[in-house]
Amino acid sequence: MTSASFTKSTSPVAGNLTMGGVLRSEWTKFRSVRSTWWLLSMTVILLVGLGVIVVVLEVNTGAPKQQPPYQVAQQIEFGALITQLVLGVLGILMFTGEYGSGMIRISVSVVPRRLMLLWAKLSVLCVVVLPLTLVSSVVAFMLGEFAWQSHRGLKPVGFGDPQVTRIVIGSALVVAVTAVCGFGMGAIIRSTAGSIGALVGIFFVLPLVAQAALPRGVAGLARFLPSNAGDALWGGTIGPRSMTPWSGFALLCGYAVALVAVAAWRLRRGDA
């Protein structure tokens, strides 16, 4: 440590704050903690692995029946359910990781136009998560279909079937949008534990509670819960109790947008 070295420095003074710079900064933050890579690996393993295991078990035990293609696709993409939680946590950590360590104060002090921080984080999350879930989902389907097809007597499911396409793409979209919901919750609640509690409560517990406790007349309201709305796109059986696939997905996106909007409002006007 020499006190002379800072006087002799020839480094330039810091440049302007730019969106490109903030994006690079957020990417560095994102890639430089292990939890990111754990959660992304788990995403691939669960999304690809779980469905394939289900299909392999199905075709190898007992006498598998020919099923309608959409049901097979739903089985293959079964891992998406639990992956919602994994990527929801990844989304949560984007902000709570900084609040937990106190780093948020540094981040906001170098990016005093705070919304730039929010948009950059959200961009990094989406740019990583969306392609990853889409690719995993398609790979899962290809492997699952291979397992299904290789068994004697079972017809291929076929990606061309519009319902199958919707389920394969839709499960990936729902998982990605859930990550954005987690992102919003984390930015609003600011604590990791609290946000995970909220995510599990809203996405996993509330639908069960609603199913068990809602009186008959209003039981239909349960379909507007975020996880049930998302489920309509890929996992649910279509019926009077469920939303139509794309309106369900639109509602889930609406929840995500609302959460991010509240997060932006809170970040912008309050104390960091």
Binding site: S3, F6, S11, V13, A14, G15, G21, M103, I106
Partner: protein, 305 residues
Amino acid sequence: MIEVENLTKRYGDKVAVDGLTFSVAPGVVTGFLGPNGAGKSTTLRMIAALDVPTSGRVRVNGRDYRSSPAPMAELGLLLEAKAVHPGRSARDHLLAIGQTAGIGKARVNEVIEMVGLGDVARKRVGGFSLGMGQRVGIAVALLGRPRTVVMDEPVNGLDPEGVRWIRALLRTLADEGCTVFYSSHLMSEMAQTATNLIVIGRGRLIACSTVEQFIAKTTATSVVVRSPEAARLRGLLGRADVRIAPDGPDLLRIDGITPEEVGTIASQAGVPVFDLRVERASLEEAFMQATHDSVEYGATGLENL
């Protein structure tokens, strides 16, 4: 240059900062003092636009910090130590912060060497000691070569070598023309580093002056004389505005008179003088004197220990 005008911050019922007005000039080191809970950290957070003032305003280098095109060139900030994700390396931490302003690896490495973390820059910060974490924070503050540096208790946790280093650092920055504003509870350290002082208590301004003026204004400066004829000298000095306290058989402590006067009177009367010196209070004594009314979280005596 930092200008604070009528700054007030309320948290619910609690008024943390209460109508503060002061400015911090470039080119000198300015210390920020106050008892626990006086509102120092809150003020520093408002200067950095982290906390939103309830009323009043702050200008950094003549403008609202939030509208600066190049924030990292304006203000370098150190708040709490170790405000780093524990799983991230010091190098990635600094790189991420620097990238917002186009600062690259070369400057990051330079700053890491400067604060003495060259050997551990690639290690996870979670394993760092308090002092190492503090050095990471100092590196962050220096990264953008800012015109104004604000630090909250930067000396906290540093070893003696680190304390000397940061003293040299702050003074060198000021000599280069930087505005340097930092808080500390270590009075002797502050006395050696700072030229100017802002003192607050319970969120209000108590003093804003140079260290010397602060000590002179708050505490008495005494003349201490040692003489075998102390009793006779005491009689010669008897004046309404002079207070004399015997401080031993041949020692007098005299307030309200200059050493020149004492020396002249003694020599005219032929009183031998063995020692004649001026005793100034320390910054710590002056601080205790100035803030004893505004200590909020004072400990009680040790009688019940």
